[in-house]
Symmetry: C2
Subunit: 757 residues, 2 copies
């Protein structure tokens, strides 16, 4: 207790009270999981889908501003972060930094130590000045508590000019560009201002983060700055396109502690102030923390898992749920671009990453939230013309491959989600499918659409032609699903046919014993063996099934396959696995092909197109091999350690994948069923929003008893190795009889392909 | 002097001091010209290209908020207006209204009388309460002087929620939509806030008008409001997506007068405050007015006209110059979307309207300003991907027909304007020409571009196919001009060829004795006699040379020809008049065709595509007929009366057309020459930015001596009836020898066609 005070000890007790009381699920959440390695998750606190995500910044170009190596000096704690993303960074706005000393230097940094991260809470001791910084948060407001262990010149810097990944030339790739900032000292306890930025990973338009900060004790001196020049006692620095901020000095702090509430808004500083008044009217750090814990607890407790589960699995599972509910971000009431009573979500980053498992998981845990998210996409379509594939800082972009918002709509539709205008949704999908997005084909809609509509595939003249064709075909399947359900025959006919367009790029090419791959074809309909790189020096690059374009064609955006290769993407036909098996030569060749994929390490655990691939054995009647792959993948790659997420978490995509597989069911998004496989958890109960429960129980599950030999649903034998969403929704129990050797269970049943109900 | 005070009388003297002193050019400007009828020009004051344009609003859906019928009650004086536009209204933000009485009603209106409008000055007496409201302005700040002729409860309303043409459903056509507003009482003399709106004529994204207002005397009471509810003494109404404002009450005003300075900004309220500090630090209404008069005087005096000119012609000429320099609006330093050291202009409304005469006029009067405007287009291209055809509220859109920014670039290039990066400009033009703009083809770039590139014309499947084809061909000519000059052979070859694409829609169709018209052709290359309307009920509409789609196809946007018909647009081939004559059957049939056009009243004086048409006689060697047409058109349509502009002034397009023709020269934009014809002014001197003068002198000009019988340039006989820009730039004198009968002058010379230097 030399450096941490009694109050901090109380917080630690609050955080770890599991020892003494009823265990809470949130206590199994460890925000540190995934903060080392490539996970890129936020280490700081956040409410579910919370708008403010305060946290430490010590790496200006890291996606979340954070590097687990605390010998890299922390330069501030900013209020807006994204979690788990890759590519160029976004946000990092409105940076706060406590320090000791005179107000004569704008740059203030310190290395950190004794980091504590728990759900809703983060603290670090800043070595310079020995200042403990603690943070907790509500939805739009953070509360900071600084403990200045050195008496004397205690100060805080509020930086309205700081942000991540600054670019200086308009060509700077995925960089953020400074537009303007403002700072204003309102009283001896209050400061407001804003930071205005454009660009970032999604090459978005301008966004403004406004803030209002209130201290619990008065500052007695201040200096504002503009363009690196300090102005003692000048209360305001108006926006002349320069970076601004303020240094504040305090004295005689009560118990050497200073608290600061900081509200943010995308509307105005006054709205930020109002957010404080609404969310954190008082000064009780612990109360705020507790409220945030309870918000999470409500969600996490929707899935109750076997109490006997190992602590490590509990931590992995609940942290996965937590990571799945950080993004997109709920900005309802904070949309600066139009007025609407519909919900507003931002930071879809990107739907290509999250459609497979994140949204299906949310549909089970909190379907009303998923309805709101889909409605926010429709609202964006109504006001800006297209739904996003990705969106951040109030701007659609960048579209990675397809118009995958279609999958969310189909998923909602087949799972019977109410409260969505599906007529409007169909319109929004048809816009994607029919109207080329224009000059910037990465902003929204479908790039290369003329080709796709005229040729049935995107020709090699376009970047990402392979991925685009495959994703568009799947998106078209999703449109057909909704059209069919709504009795729109013409649309159903058109899009169910187009759902087979992936076959137009299926070339009978043999590689590593497998035949048939998604390969490039030119506008004249001829297969081509190389593509022209779209970036200088525009070399021709040979395309083979194992070709990787990264490093040759600058980045994933310019090759034939996005973030993958033909080996991987040729197995990513989620709506027509039966068709894929047929084109691959039948069941046996397909099994060989899958085995090759895993054994030759073509499988990339961190990549979304391969999310379903381990489960494809289900379609050849060998669900035991699916289970085998999944168990091995998790064992080899995931853990509850700081490097426990084996790739960018991608807004929770990887975490949600893990959560499903721990339960023993895995969805195929846009379709109404879940594949059943060996779970990691012996028993789980889904407390559904309807009030009903659905239990998954794997009897006698152990490391040895890892094979399903039989299944029952509500006591009735289940021969098939998949489950309908309606069966879960009806409540009941899925019992899996486990065994120590493979069985014939599931060998005679094959999950749906090209199913239209 | 019962209602106007002594100070007002001083203003009137200031405004009309011509009587007593050296006549100033600005005194010939009458802002009332064009405020009745269809002119739609602003009646309120503005600096040249000024950002703030305060003025009275008594017509919520009028383009400039104003109706000359003052029996329609004025509901406020808003700070942002556009001048001369048509279509759905834009702006009308931050409304001020003086009134008498208790602070218990938000709605405050009054009819007006005794309106005075002069350059930089506007006043009206509000009948209710007998309040004189006077306004003058600097670039970004207005100063109001209210004289309350009734003693008692004197009050001012500041409305942050008001704006024009409000839409309530997302389908509302060209409407503006409310997004948010905020109001804050800062002290007993200061109020700030903002108004946030999207949409309007150009279907633009969100824009925010911030303001800061300062009074010269304290208010003693106030009530803010939100959503129609008044809140006594509540200082701030934050933005919750509702309309807000404040009512202020004053007492014991000095001499019953109250002054208010209001600064606006598109960046922040503090920037608005800073704009006040920079532009109007003091309280001298007269000083501000004088400064604005002097800014204008500097520009207007660049063209000195014969002192003997009739007062009516002087008023027409200088008011035309004035109207030509109101838009686009200089918002350098006020771009909320990105940071740049380049100039920033907004309210291009639209370049389709202004490319023909407004920009060429500015190139003569203030070439540096034209350079800045072109650079601002390039800056928009660099940050948003395309140059605009129209832009307002910081958003590109709507594109009327072509990508006519090309014309401005070519015009600058052929006239040798320095300070433009023509390499960058060529890139920006090639983007228009090669990359389809996408889902919203009215936002920017070229709609129907796939057709145009593949077929050589825009097929009848697209709206405005005729206009688009013709304008694209001209735009391509402009690209070829620049490419040629810069030695880009491949681009020159491609675009000089495409400049002939208008011929692909030339159908040998006979109507009213003329053969050959721009007519619709389908994708298969067949002529079609009707087009499908793009709006419900999607009827087929017969297309003939005289067909007018307005009223049948909802509006101009959905027909074959925009704002015109094939008769008119088939004569609008400004880069290849010789080619047009050839396809029309030669000189004699062409003359007959032109005569028919004018005598059968197919000519529409208020429509830009016909701006050049009266001059086409030059290309058949009959410049005297051009002069004849021009003189008749002006005489029949233009005057110095309030209805003296015979159509929407279109950001000064019509005014600049008039100004050129009064001088006796008319440009053909994108090309380096001016056509010479009979002027209305006997003598004019262009004081060029180089310091040189160029004089145009029509010797013995009179109503009878209306024919040019000979011309000399610097004393040397000029046989041709056109003049190179370089000849003007070199300085000197063009002398026209006038006669009372037509002569052979010009009959042997033909202005250039398809000229590439």
């Amino acid at each position: 207790m030399t450096q941490k005070t009694f109050a901090t000890a109380c917080i630690l007790i609050l955080l770890t009270s599991a020892v003494y009381a009823q265990t809470k699920y949130y206590q199994f959440v460890d925000p540190l999981i995934g903060t080392e390695g490539q996970g890129n998750v936020i280490v700081g606190p956040s409410c579910p889908f919370g708008m403010i995500k305060p946290g430490p910044d010590n790496a200006k170009n890291a996606n979340n501003g954070y590097n687990a190596d605390l010998s890299l000096p922390i330069f501030g704690f900013s209020q807006v972060h994204v979690s788990g993303t890759g590519g160029g960074a976004k946000y990092g706005n409105i940076s706060v930094m406590p320090f000791n000393g005179a107000l004569n230097r704008i740059k203030q940094t310190s290395t950190g130590q004794s980091e504590v991260a728990a759900l809703g809470y983060y603290s670090v001791l800043l070595k310079k000045g020995n200042i403990l910084t603690e943070i907790t948060t509500s939805d739009k407001v953070a509360i900071y508590r600084f403990t200045y262990n050195k008496i004397g010149a205690n100060a805080v810097k509020l930086d309205a000019g700081e942000f991540f990944n600054e670019g200086f030339s308009t060509d700077a790739h995925e960089a953020q560009f400074f537009v303007g900032s403002e700072i204003k000292v309102l009283s001896d306890r209050e400061v407001c201002g804003y930071n205005r930025i454009r660009g970032g990973w999604n090459a978005g338009g301008v966004y403004t983060v406004y803030f209002h900060a209130i201290f619990d004790q008065p500052f007695f001196g201040f200096k504002t700055w503009k363009a690196n020049k300090l102005y003692p006692n000048q209360k305001a620095q108006f926006d002349s396109g320069e970076k601004t901020g303020v240094l504040l000095s305090f004295k005689s702090l009560r118990s050497r502690k200073l608290q600061m509430k900081i509200g943010i808004s995308f509307i105005s500083t006054d709205k930020a102030d109002e957010n404080i008044a609404n969310e954190i009217p008082g000064w009780k750090f612990k109360t705020v923390l507790k409220q945030t814990q309870m918000k999470w607890e409500q969600l996490l407790s929707r899935i109750e898992i076997d109490k006997q589960t190992s602590r490590s699995y509990k931590r992995m599972f609940y942290t996965s749920l937590y990571h799945s509910m950080l993004m997109p971000v709920d900005r309802t009431g904070e949309n600066p671009s139009w007025k609407s009573t519909l919900p507003y979500y931002d930071d879809f980053y990107a739907i290509w990453d999250t459609y497979r498992s994140s949204h299906p998981l949310l549909t089970l845990v909190d379907p009303n939230r998923e309805v709101n998210i889909v409605n926010s996409l429709l609202n964006i379509y109504q006001h800006e013309g297209y739904m996003p594939d990705a969106r951040s800082g109030n701007s659609n972009g960048r579209t990675q491959c397809g118009s995958n918002a279609e999958v969310l709509i189909a998923d909602a539709y087949v799972k019977g989600l109410k409260g969505i205008d599906y007529e409007l949704a169909l319109k929004a999908m048809l816009k994607d499918a029919d109207v080329p997005p224009g000059g910037n084909e990465e902003q929204q809609g479908r790039g290369g659409l003329y080709d796709y509509k005229n040729l049935g595939y995107v020709s090699s003249a376009y970047p990402r032609a392979g991925t685009r064709t495959v994703e568009y075909a799947f998106d078209d399947y999703c449109i057909a699903v909704v059209a069919k359900g709504m009795g729109k025959t013409a649309e159903f006919d058109r899009f169910s046919k187009q759902a087979g367009n992936w076959k137009n790029l299926w070339r009978y090419y043999t590689d590593h014993g497998a035949t048939g791959f998604i390969m490039p074809k030119n506008e004249e309909g001829h297969w081509v063996d190389s593509i022209k790189c779209t970036v200088p020096p525009y070399r021709n690059i040979a395309v083979t099934p194992t070709y990787i374009n990264s490093g040759q064609c600058e980045d994933w955006w310019s090759g034939f396959i996005y973030e993958s290769n033909p080996w991987e993407y040729s197995l990513s036909i989620p709506h027509d696995v039966a068709g894929l098996i047929k084109l691959s030569g039948g069941k046996q060749p397909f099994q060989t092909r899958l085995d090759t994929f895993f054994f030759k390490h073509f499988y990339n655990v961190g990549n979304e197109p391969a999310f379903l691939t381990p489960m494809l054995y289900h379609w050849i009647g060998k669900p035991e091999l699916s289970s085998e792959r999944i168990l091995n993948i998790i064992q080899d790659n995931y853990s509850d350690l700081r490097n426990g997420i084996p790739g960018n978490d991608d807004s929770g995509a990887m975490s949600s994948w893990l959560a499903f597989h721990m339960l023993g069911i895995y969805p195929n998004a846009g379709q109404s069923y879940y594949l059943i496989h060996t779970p990691l958890l012996a028993e789980s109960i889904l407390h559904l929003s309807s009030g009903k429960d659905f239990k998954i129980k794997a009897k006698n599950l152990s490391k040895i008893n890892r094979y399903i030999k039989g299944a029952k649903i509500n006591g009735v034998t289940l021969a098939r190795d998949w489950l309908e969403h309606s069966e879960i929704e009806s409540g009941g129990i899925l019992e899996l009889e486990m065994s120590n050797k493979p069985s014939a269970w599931g060998s005679g049943s094959f999950p749906p392909s090209m199913q239209f109900k």
